[in-house]
C-alpha cells in the first residue's frame, strides 16, 4: 500500500469530492482520501487569487476575499472533506494505492517466469 498524489482529471474541477471519490472507487485498488490544495507555483496562485478577490463592488466581501487569500497555504492537505467539498483548480488527489498481496504477487511472478 502506498499514499501518493495524482493530478485530478480536468472534468472534475468544479465537481464535488463525492464525485471524485466515486471515480477513484471505480479504479482498481485506489481510494481517494483527500485533496492537496494550492499545488504548483504558489506565487502565481496567490497573484491570481488577489486579482479574483478584487472583483467585487462589496467592500465587506472584498475584505473577506483578501483575508482568504492571506490564509492560503501552499500544498495544503485536506483529508477526508465532506462529500459536497468543491474541487478547485490547482489541486491534486491524495490516494491510497493498494498493492497485490505478497503470495498472489509471487504466484503471478512464478507463472510469468513459467511462461518465459
Amino acid at each position: 500500500m502506498s499514499i501518493s498524489t495524482q493530478e485530478i482529471p480536468a472534468r472534475f474541477i468544479g465537481k464535488t469530492f463525492g464525485d471524485l471519490f466515486d471515480f477513484y472507487l471505480t479504479r482498481n485498488r485506489t481510494i481517494l482520501i483527500g485533496i492537496l490544495e494550492n499545488t504548483g507555483n504558489f506565487y502565481t496562485r496567490k497573484t491570481e487569487a488577489i486579482r479574483d478577490a478584487q472583483k467585487t463592488p462589496d467592500i465587506s466581501k472584498l475584505v473577506d476575499n483578501l483575508k482568504y487569500v492571506k490564509q492560503l497555504v501552499a500544498n495544503m492537505p485536506v483529508i477526508n472533506p465532506t462529500s459536497d467539498y468543491i474541487i478547485t483548480r490547482y489541486t491534486r488527489a491524495i490516494i491510497i494505492e493498494g498493492r497485490m498481496p505478497g503470495v498472489l504477487k509471487k504466484s503471478i511472478k512464478e507463472k510469468t517466469n513459467a511462461i518465459v
Partner: protein
Amino acid sequence: MQLFKKTSHKPHDNDVIIEKLKQLSFFSMFENDDETMERIAAVCSRRGFGAGKYIIREGDYGDELFIALSGEIEIIKNTLQNEEYTVTTFYADEGGVNFGEIALIDNDRRSASVLAKTECECLVITRDDFIKLGDENPRAGLEITRSIARQLCGNLRKSNTDIITLFSALVEEISASK
C-alpha cells in the same frame, strides 16, 4: 465611427417617455403633474446603442443622465490591475433604470462603465438642459436636485460604512502581525 444613433422623439412618443420617467425616483413626485412631466419629457432625447457598445466608459468625463427604455444593460468596473468585472445587470423592462445622475450635478469622471448587452434605447438628459429646466421651473429643479441629493447621501453613507470596514480590517491586520 458612430457609436450610437441619436433619435429625436415625436409627440406621440411622449406617453412612453412620461410613463418611463414616472418609474424613476427622481421624477415620480410629478406623476400627477402633467405640465411638469411634459417639460421634463421635452428635454429628453432618445438614443440607441447596438449590442456590445459602451453607453458610458469608466474614467471618461460625462454630462448626461441615461434612462434605459429598452434592452439589457451591464454595469462593469475595473480592478486595480485593470481587469473588468461585472457589478450587476439591469433589464429596462424591470422598471426605472437610470445611470450617470451625478453628471447632472457635477462634471467628474464616470465611476463605472455601462455596456449595452443587447440592443438598447435610452432617454438622455444633458446637464445644460437640466440646468435650463431648473431655471425655468425652479420648483421642479429643486425637487429633482433634492431627490438626487438623497441618493448621493445614501451613497455617502455606504462609503462611510466601507471606510470603517476597511479601517477595521487594517487595524485587525496590524494587531495580528508580529
